[in-house]
């Protein structure tokens, strides 16, 4: 199935480069949710994630010729999205952490799935943007270490170390927030 998708992706890109505009839209439909998920996991803002996703596809649309074909089309798109998201955070000078006040408090009952997700967002927000990006790529998108290294321009050997540190941090923060139900 994955192999089929990879071939289908390359085929769509090749047809687009051959002048078939509609072929590019196949990639947009196939990967828009993934790209928004990754962007959202990094910037923690749905509206901003939508903008980043749109910019990601526009960049890919305009620079399709820059796809070198040594990775999958999907990981090429993800790396554009990750860089866009990190650039956006840098531009807003809030690379280290998203202010917790910017995260909306949930309205669900305590310990509802919604709240668990909110606690997680709080916890993720305390990680560095790079670590968040790596975790999101790995946990949500199932990216390989090679893909993460390419997307974040990290040396391949540092991916495991950074991911493990991020997981340890995430676990600490989640353990702390478990005891205290947040009140603003």
């Amino acid at each position: 199935m994955l192999g089929f998708l990879m071939d289908a992706d390359r085929d769509a890109l090749a047809r687009y480069l051959d002048g078939d505009e509609k072929a590019f839209e196949e990639l947009v439909v196939r990967y828009e949710a993934s790209v928004r998920r990754v962007a959202s996991g990094i910037v923690h803002d749905h509206a901003l994630a939508e903008d980043i996703a749109q910019e990601t596809f526009l960049t890919a649309y305009e620079k399709a010729g820059s796809y070198r074909g040594d990775g999958t089309v999907r990981s090429w798109l993800m790396s554009i999205a990750v860089r866009r998201a990190l650039d956006e955070l840098r531009r807003r000078s809030r690379q280290a952490a998203i202010p917790l006040t910017e995260l909306n408090e949930p309205t669900g009952t305590p310990h509802s799935p919604l709240e668990a997700s909110w606690e997680l967002r709080r916890a993720l927000a305390l990680l560095t943007a790079d670590s968040r990006a790596a975790l999101v790529l790995r946990e949500i998108e199932g990216s390989t270490y090679r893909e993460i290294a390419d997307a974040l321009r990290w040396p391949m050997g540092t991916v495991a170390t950074k991911l493990h540190r991020a997981r340890m941090e995430l676990r600490c923060v989640l353990a702390e927030t478990k005891d205290a139900v947040p009140k603003n």
Binding site: E25, A33, R37, Q54, V136, Y145, L170
Partner: protein, 146 residues
């Protein structure tokens, strides 16, 4: 084996990025170590936020794309199409050049001179087809050079 709780090999193992030999060492440790097993369970049960597919996304993409491509210096693809068009014209240009060379080489010097004289004197006397070599015929001849 020392506890792997703070060792990146534990993550690499969870992510299936270890070589088979190293992977079975880590697996054996996790089986025997409650702390590492806890860590692995916690990492695997983290409910990361999900995003549903949005049918409106493609519509907004089309709008953004048309807005972008109507700007001056519109995108790479436009450029690519021009390049393609330009490359498409190469064989045609080459064919025209070859045809011009053939016409010139099949026309002897006297004929060229004659056409030139006729063109200067009596344009009506120009024969059919002479026009195509007229520009070549009006080049200065060697005996007119200083």
């Amino acid at each position: 084996m020392q506890c792997l709780k703070t060792d990146s090999r534990l993550s690499a193992w969870m992510d299936g990025e270890l070589e088979p030999g190293a992977a079975s060492d880590v697996a054996a440790h996790v089986e025997a170590c409650a702390e590492c097993a806890d860590f692995v369970d916690a990492c695997r049960s983290v409910p990361l936020p999900d995003v549903e597919p949005d049918p409106g996304f493609i519509v907004r993409f089309r709008e953004a794309r048309s807005a972008r491509t109507s700007e001056p210096l519109a995108g790479y693809l436009t450029c690519l199409k021009w390049k393609k068009l330009a490359f498409g014209l190469v064989p045609l240009a080459a064919a025209m050049l070859v045809a011009a060379i053939l016409v010139v080489s099949s026309t002897d010097g006297d004929a060229i001179q004659q056409i030139e004289l006729e063109a200067l004197g009596d344009p009506v006397a120009l024969e059919a087809g002479a026009e195509s070599v007229l520009t070549i015929a009006i080049e200065p001849f060697p005996d007119e050079l200083p």
